[in-house]
Symmetry: C2
Subunit: 177 residues, 2 copies
Amino acid sequence: MEEIVRVKRELAYQGKILNIYKDYMALPNGHTAVWDFVEHKGAAAVVPVTREGKILMVRQYRNALERYTLEIPAGALNFAGEPKEVCAARELEEETGFRAGKLEWLINVNTTVAFCNEIIGIYLASDLIPSKQHLDEDEFLDVEEYGLQELLDMIFTGKITDGKTIAALLAYQVKRA
Amino acid sequence: MEEIVRVKRELAYQGKILNIYKDYMALPNGHTAVWDFVEHKGAAAVVPVTREGKILMVRQYRNALERYTLEIPAGALNFAGEPKEVCAARELEEETGFRAGKLEWLINVNTTVAFCNEIIGIYLASDLIPSKQHLDEDEFLDVEEYGLQELLDMIFTGKITDGKTIAALLAYQVKRA
């Protein structure tokens, strides 16, 4: 494998949840290429399984897609380096109003390796304990309950498209099989 | 579900493979929030299965992660609106040197619904026909062959983290089970 080396990183844009850089890369053919880099502090997500074996999902508006999506509960880390299981437990409680009696690591997902360093730690939450939903001030979402097979059918008919949700639900299905 | 409406979109940065916008969103609580939006033209990816049931993977350097990753073959659309199966067939041949005798749609993945509109159409390629690898001038990657179970083990031990690759391999496993 030939070596690729970054020779410079330039800040191009500072956003609310991300920063954009231009990476100047020295390639094995002698070229210097400029590649985009989106910096993200990371996130956590949860597959919450109820005592009846149902899965809690959230429906929310996504400006990037200009529509509502059905996703597993998730949220960005409070700060870079926050333990992902702490974030996962917090987001589960904030978004669904349940605490996890048991929280197990399932998979890690880099969402977009081509240009962004975002990594999502995905956990399986069970033994759910009723608590209280407390959304952020500017957060609006509905919690809905589904059977796993129903969600798998929605993946294979293109109705669920969120990458972390697809990876998480399929990982849960493969692990339990 | 309360309504959320975009009142303005401002271009903030033009990159090589993406553009960044600030979206001004009118929320149900009367606030106007500014959310980042990353515009991407879309992509396609392929799970290439050989006649022996092995899977062709590519290993390449990713500046966003500052390391090499193991992924399924994939690439961006040549233009917004290019049919994804055309892109999938092209990227398979360019990156691995095989053409697909058979190409079936598997799933669609929105990589990062929180801030980006990228969607990847993922296909299953079989009846592979030897052709010729022809990488882009500034593209460097190695092709490697793995058994499916070996790849699943790499997902569940955190060695494979690319989201589209995890979703695609697990989808293939669930569909064939």
